[in-house]
């Protein structure tokens, strides 16, 4: 399939979905509205709402807050995950002692922590950052742990025979291996950072995309809820594209699936 055909078909899906949504919420079929506008709004109202947000500039503040929260959550969670992952992988006894507690903490649905974080850290950005950190940390931690553990024994033996000391092994073998595992989970961890931020905002805040959606929902403004969702989706796609670009640059040494040898 050529690029152009693909793009045309992809746009077609959007157009058809919007058309169905519009028709079913605007025109009664057999004397009955299939999608009552009260619950489903309609595309025109939603687009108008989005345009209004951008025209007045309100949306930028909320986008900015969500972005800052997600980025802080990602950075702090990643640093914590890398450090603890390395520490546990190099100290099997420590890892064994903490193992049940790590599993327990990871099994806990993170949403229940949100009220506690709000209580501890207030309604500002830090309670959302904390929620995002608890999500990001475990993904990065497990990947780094695995990355250090699963260094090929042959590569490790080779590194030692080439005269590497502990510090050099860390830098030339363990670190790149752990990073490659971490980067392969970049999409997931960045996604979770955004989830943490938005869910946190939804549960109690004064700004952010989650706040915007929650406010609209509070007054049964369905168009506002849908508009918030679309902006959020676009926001996540932009971030994901950036992550893909970063990933391509950093993992240039890795074979991609279906990559033929020259």
């Amino acid at each position: 399939m050529s690029r152009l055909t693909l793009l045309t078909l992809q746009i077609l899906v959007a157009v058809v979905s919007l058309a169905i949504w519009y028709v079913f919420t605007t025109y009664p079929i057999f004397g009955k509205m299939l999608l009552p506008p009260f619950f489903f709004s309609n595309p025109v109202d939603v687009i108008q709402q989005i345009i209004k947000w951008f025209a007045t500039g309100v949306i930028w503040k909320h986008l900015y807050v969500t972005l800052v929260e997600a980025m802080l959550a990602f950075v702090i969670g990643s640093i914590g995950g890398v450090l603890v992952g390395f520490w546990f992988a190099r100290q099997p006894r420590t890892a064994a002692v903490f193992d049940p507690y790590v599993k327990m903490a990871n099994a806990l649905p993170r949403v229940v922590l949100a009220p506690i974080f709000t209580l501890w850290l207030g309604l500002g950005i830090w309670s959302k950052v904390a929620l995002g950190v608890t999500l990001v940390f475990f993904i990065v931690f497990f990947n780094v742990y695995q990355g250090v553990k699963e260094v090929s024994p042959t590569v490790l033996a080779n590194a030692r025979m080439l005269g590497m000391n502990e510090r050099q092994l860390m830098r030339h073998v363990y670190w790149p291996s752990a990073l490659s595992w971490m980067f392969s989970s970049l999409h997931t961890s960045v996604g979770f950072a955004v989830v943490g931020a938005v869910v946190g905002e939804y549960l109690g805040s004064a700004a952010g995309l989650g706040y915007l959606i929650q406010q609209a929902e509070g007054v049964f403004d369905v168009a506002g809820v849908f508009a918030g969702m679309f902006v959020l989706a676009a926001f996540v796609i932009v971030i994901d594209t950036i992550v893909t670009m970063v990933e391509k640059r950093l993992l240039v040494w890795r074979p991609t699936v279906g990559d033929a040898k020259p």
Binding site: T154, V155, A157, M161, N165, S177, W253
Partner: protein, 272 residues
């Protein structure tokens, strides 16, 4: 470093036993009472049936594992830690996948404190010697199996080790590539004649390359059961040497002994 002079063998294994603890608590005796000397500048091949502990013996000489009994001496000095005078070419892929070919070759110098620029320049030179001068910026996954082995060879030789340990290095390659790699190895080795301990299951390859062929029995408790001197003239070309009548005579002689061991090895593998 104490040395008893030039007369001490590069590698001396004295009555080496190797035992592994099994998961069920038992002990698997891989190698028993292996005694083997490799003189400085000598090319020795170890041949034996699959799973007889050839690689284990090499790991002892490299200092990667310690013998259960007996000892390994390197130029007359008891080996207690890693063998710092040896370069090791592994059977499996051992290049750093996150480094380019050039970085892979240069790393052995960089870890020893050579400045990066100089290490890179010498690595480029070595890539040229193994015929990959224009492949420096490729990552290992972009290279073929034979090319990866060439990079591995350069990676080991750039450090100029006194002893070269090779564990079926050309095992995974196709027949033609093996022959080309064999000739490349002989050319490089001819330049400075390091002591080489070369493990293989291919008797023809062993005879064509080496000065001595050592035969191991089938495991467990594998022993060294034969030691032949190969007096074919050097420098050799592998495809030519295989046409030499002396080669055939030797091959027939050694194969007589090896055959029964190979069959034993198969029988044990099936009985397992």
């Amino acid at each position: 470093m104490t040395s008893t002079g030039t007369t001490a063998p590069a590698v001396a294994l004295n009555g080496v036993d190797v035992a592994f603890r099994l998961a069920d608590g038992g002990v698997y005796r891989a190698v028993e009472a292996a005694t083997l000397n490799v003189a400085d500048g000598e090319f020795v091949a170890i041949v034996g049936p699959t799973g007889c502990g050839k690689s284990t013996l090499l790991n002892i000489a490299a200092g990667l594992i310690a013998p259960a009994a007996g000892s390994a001496d390197i130029f007359g000095t008891r080996l207690a830690d890693l063998n710092r005078q040896a370069g090791y070419l592994f059977q499996a892929d051992s290049l750093f996948p996150w480094k380019t070919a050039l970085e892979n070759v240069a790393i052995g110098l960089e870890t020893a404190g050579t400045p990066t620029a100089e290490a890179r320049a010498r690595a480029q030179d070595w890539l040229g010697r193994v015929g990959l001068g224009s492949f420096g910026d490729r990552y290992p996954h972009m290279l073929s199996g034979g090319q990866r082995k060439r990079v591995g060879l350069a990676q080991v030789l750039i450090r100029d080790p006194k002893i070269l340990l090779m564990d079926e290095p050309f095992g995974p390659l196709d027949a033609q590539t093996r022959q080309i790699m064999g000739n490349l190895l002989l050319d490089l080795w001819n330049a400075d004649r390091k002591a080489v301990l070369f493990v293989t299951h291919d008797l023809e390859e062993a005879i064509a390359l080496s000065d001595r062929v050592v035969i191991m029995s089938a495991g467990p408790a594998a022993r060294i059961i034969g030691d032949w001197r190969v007096s074919l003239p050097r420098p050799r070309d592998i495809s030519d040497v295989k046409l030499d009548p002396a080669f055939h005579e030797l091959h027939r002689e050694i194969w007589q002994m090896l055959k029964s061991e190979v069959l034993k090895g198969y029988a044990q593998a099936e009985g397992r």
